[in-house]
C-alpha cells in the first residue's frame, strides 16, 4: 500500500510538471492557434538561467526562480516578436515547422553556453524528505505540487477576473472581433508567449532541482507534455492540468511496477507510456477529454 502511495505521489509531482508545460501549450494555442514545439527549449533555457542565477550569481533560490521565470518570459515574448509574428496567417504546417526549427536552434545554443555536463542547481530541497503518516515524501515533490497548485489557481483567477485576462479570452475566441473592440492582438500574443515561457521555466527549475540534476536532455520533458495537452484537449486549460496529472500518474505507476507488471514490454517502457495513452485517447476522443470539437466549413 505504501509503495502504491509513494508511486502515486511521485506521479502527481511529475504530473504537476507536465501540467505546467501543457498549460503553456494551451495558452499559446488558444490565443495564437500555434502549437509551440519550442516549449522544451524555453523550459531548458529557464532551468539553465535558474542555474546561473542560483549557482554562479549565488542568489537566494526563490529570487533565482522568479528571475529565471521573468527572463524566460522575455525570451518567449521576443521569440514571438522576432519570428512568429512574421508567420501570422501562414498555414499550420509552416508555423509548426518554425517552432520545431526554433527548438533545434535553442538546444545547441544551450549546450554551447552551459556545456553537456550534468549541473547541480543549488537549492534548498535537494534530496531531503519528510515523513508523513509513515510515507516518505520528497520535499522537492511537495514544493512542485504546491507551486503548481498556486500557479494554476493564479492562472485561472487571472483569466477570469482581470481585464487583460478577458482581453486574452476575447482574442482567443475571435481575433477580429477583439481587434474591433480595441484589444491589441499583438500585445495578447506577446503576453501569451511570455506566460507560456514563464510556466515552462518554472517547470524546468523544479525539475532541475531534483535528484537528476540539470542536463540538456531536460527539454525532452516538454515533448512528453504534448500527450498531456492532447489528452486534456488542445484548447482547454483545465484539460491541460487534468491531462498532465493523468499522464504523470500513468508514467510513474508504470515505472514503479516495471518489474512486476511490465517486464514484457521492455526496459524503460514508462518513457513511451504518455504517447501510447495519447494514441488511445485520440482514437476514442479525438478532441481530448475536455476539448471542444472544432467545426469546419468549406
Amino acid at each position: 500500500m505504501n509503495a502504491l502511495l509513494t508511486n502515486v505521489f511521485a506521479g502527481l509531482a511529475l504530473g504537476s510538471t507536465y501540467a505546467l508545460v501543457a498549460l503553456g501549450f494551451v495558452v499559446i494555442f488558444k490565443s495564437t492557434g500555434v502549437i509551440n514545439f519550442a516549449q522544451g527549449g524555453l523550459l531548458a533555457l529557464g532551468a539553465y538561467l535558474g542555474y546561473t542565477f542560483a549557482g554562479d550569481l549565488a542568489l537566494a533560490f526563490g529570487v533565482a526562480v522568479v528571475l529565471a521565470c521573468l527572463a524566460a518570459a522575455v525570451a518567449g515574448a521576443s521569440v514571438e516578436r522576432l519570428v512568429l509574428r512574421r508567420m501570422v496567417g501562414q498555414p499550420p504546417f509552416a508555423v509548426i515547422m518554425i517552432t520545431i526549427g526554433l527548438l533545434f536552434v535553442i538546444e545547441p545554443l544551450i549546450t554551447a553556453i552551459w556545456g553537456f555536463h550534468t549541473l547541480n542547481v543549488p537549492n534548498p530541497w535537494n534530496i531531503r524528505t519528510v515523513e508523513i503518516g509513515g510515507l516518505v515524501l520528497g520535499v522537492r515533490d511537495l514544493w512542485t505540487i504546491g507551486l503548481t497548485a498556486v500557479v494554476v489557481v493564479g492562472f485561472f483567477l487571472f483569466f477570469r477576473y482581470t481585464a487583460f485576462g478577458l482581453a486574452m479570452r476575447a482574442t482567443a475566441f475571435d481575433p477580429e472581433a477583439a481587434l474591433a473592440q480595441g484589444i491589441s492582438a499583438r500585445r495578447v500574443y506577446a503576453v501569451s508567449w511570455a506566460i507560456a515561457a514563464a510556466l515552462a521555466a518554472l517547470a524546468g527549475i523544479t525539475l532541475a532541482a531534483g535528484p537528476g540534476g540539470l542536463s540538456p536532455s531536460i527539454s525532452f520533458i516538454a515533448l512528453a507534455a504534448f500527450p498531456a495537452m492532447i489528452l486534456g484537449g488542445l484548447d482547454s486549460p483545465s484539460g491541460a492540468v487534468l491531462g498532465g496529472l493523468i499522464i504523470g500518474l500513468a508514467e510513474a505507476l508504470t515505472r514503479g511496477y516495471q518489474d512486476q507488471l511490465f517486464s514484457w514490454a521492455g526496459s524503460n517502457v514508462s518513457v513511451i507510456v504518455p504517447y501510447v495513452l495519447m494514441i488511445v485517447i485520440l482514437l476514442i476522443r479525438p478532441y481530448g477529454l475536455l476539448g471542444t470539437k472544432d467545426v469546419r466549413r468549406i
Binding site: F116, V276, L283
Partner: protein
C-alpha cells in the same frame, strides 16, 4: 490546330503541355546532361569520401521524395519519417542479410513492409489534421525508438545490428563491379545503384504528381473537405499517400542500412525526421526536383561538417575536445536555422528560387 501563330519562345499553349514530363527541349537537354554526369562522375571522382557523401545524399534524396509526396503534395505533416526509414533498414538486415535475398527482392520486401506500416499509421490522418497529426507522428518516433531498443532479436538492441544485405542482381555484384575488364570499387558501384534508384523513384513520384492522383493529393492538401465535395476520396488518398511515402522511406532506409552495413537505434531519432523536413523545406515543398536539390545541399552537410570540423572555428571535433559546440549540436542548430530562415524568407525553397530565375529569363524582357 492552327500552326500559323507560333510564338518564338516556348510558352505553354495548352493543358497537355503543362502535363509534359520533361518540359521544354532545353529542360530535356539539361536532364540528359545530368544523367550523363551521373554516369561519368564516379569514374572521375574516385575519392571514397566524396563518393560516400554523394551516395548518402542520393539515399537521402529517395527518402525526401517520399516525405515530399506526403507533406508537400498531400499536406500531411509527419514527424515520423525516421520510424519508417528505420523499419526499412531492419528489413534489409532480415531479408537481405539473414535470408540472403538478392538486391531487388530485399528492396521490394522493405517497400512492402514500409507500405504496410504506412497503411497502419495512415488511418490516424483521417481523424486528425495538422497539429494532431504532427504530435501523433512525434509519438511514433518515440514508440519506434523503444521498439528498436527492445526487439533485440532483430535490431540488436542498443548496440545495433550489422546489415549484411548484398547489392547483387543475379550474377552482378554492385559491391565489386567488373565491367569489360575494368573493376570498380564498392563506392562506385553503389553510386550508380543509388542514383539510378533516385532517378526511378523521382520518375515514379513525378508521374504520381502530374496525373490524376497528384491533382487529387493537391486538392486534399489545399482543403480536404472541399476536395471531398468535388468528388475526391480524401480518406483514400491520405492513406495512399502515407503508404507510398513510407514505402519509399523504407527503401531509403534499406539502402542506408545496406550501404553502412551497421545500424543502431540512435540513428532513427527525431533529429533524422527533422533533417528530412529541413530538406524538403529547403529544397521546395511540393516539387520532386526540390527534394533532390535539398537532399544534395542539406543531406551532405553533416558529413562535410564532420570531415572539416577542425577547420570550423569553435567546433569540438571529438568528445572533450576544445570548442564550444559539438559536431552533433552544430548539425542540429543548422537544420533548425535552415527551417526557420527558409520558411520566413523563402517558403518555396531552392526550387522556388530556381523557378523565379527561370521565369525571369523565359519572359525577358518583360520580366517583373
Amino acid at each position: 490546330m492552327a500552326r500559323a501563330v507560333k510564338p518564338h519562345r516556348n510558352l505553354v499553349l495548352d493543358y497537355s503541355q503543362d502535363l509534359r514530363l520533361f518540359g521544354t527541349p532545353l529542360a530535356r537537354t539539361g536532364l540528359g546532361l545530368m544523367l550523363v554526369t551521373l554516369l561519368v562522375l564516379p569514374t572521375v571522382v574516385q575519392d571514397d569520401f566524396w563518393l560516400s557523401v554523394l551516395i548518402y545524399s542520393g539515399i537521402t534524396a529517395i527518402g525526401a521524395i517520399g516525405l515530399n509526396l506526403l507533406t508537400g503534395y498531400c499536406g500531411q505533416i509527419s514527424l515520423g519519417h525516421a520510424f519508417f526509414i528505420g523499419a526499412g533498414a531492419y528489413c534489409a538486415a532480415l531479408a537481405g542479410g539473414r535470408a540472403g535475398l538478392p538486391l531487388p527482392l530485399w528492396l521490394l520486401v522493405s517497400a512492402l513492409v514500409g507500405a504496410v506500416l504506412g497503411g497502419l499509421i495512415g488511418p490516424f490522418a483521417l481523424r486528425l489534421r495538422g497539429h494532431y497529426l504532427a504530435i501523433i507522428t512525434l509519438g511514433l518516433v518515440f514508440i519506434g525508438e523503444h521498439l528498436w531498443r527492445n526487439l533485440r532479436e532483430v535490431t540488436g538492441g542498443n548496440n545495433g545490428t550489422s546489415v549484411l544485405a548484398q547489392a547483387t542482381i543475379g550474377p552482378v555484384d554492385l559491391g565489386a563491379l567488373e565491367l569489360a575488364g575494368e573493376s570498380y570499387s564498392r563506392n562506385q558501384g553503389w553510386f550508380w545503384l543509388v542514383w539510378v534508384l533516385v532517378a526511378v523513384i523521382a520518375l515514379l513520384a513525378k508521374n504520381i504528381a502530374r496525373t490524376r492522383p497528384g491533382r487529387a493529393l493537391r486538392a486534399v492538401r489545399d482543403h480536404d473537405q472541399a476536395a471531398e465535395v468535388i468528388g475526391v476520396r480524401a480518406g483514400r488518398y491520405k492513406v495512399g499517400a502515407f503508404m507510398v511515402s513510407s514505402a519509399i522511406a523504407a527503401v531509403a532506409g534499406a539502402l542506408f542500412g545496406a550501404y553502412q552495413q551497421h545500424v543502431t537505434p540512435d540513428e532513427w531519432t527525431l533529429l533524422l525526421s527533422i533533417q528530412y523536413i529541413a530538406i524538403i523545406i529547403v529544397g521546395g515543398l511540393g516539387t520532386v526536383f526540390g527534394s533532390i536539390l535539398g537532399a544534395v545541399f542539406v543531406g551532405a552537410l553533416p558529413a562535410l561538417i564532420e570531415e572539416y570540423s577542425e577547420y570550423i572555428p569553435g567546433v569540438a571535433d571529438s568528445a572533450g575536445g576544445d570548442g564550444f559546440i559539438s559536431v552533433f549540436a552544430l548539425n542540429q542548430a543548422i537544420f533548425g536555422l535552415l527551417i526557420v530562415v527558409f520558411l520566413v524568407f523563402e517558403p518555396r525553397g531552392l526550387a522556388g528560387i530556381w523557378f523565379r530565375v527561370r521565369a525571369y529569363f523565359r519572359t525577358w524582357p518583360f520580366s517583373y
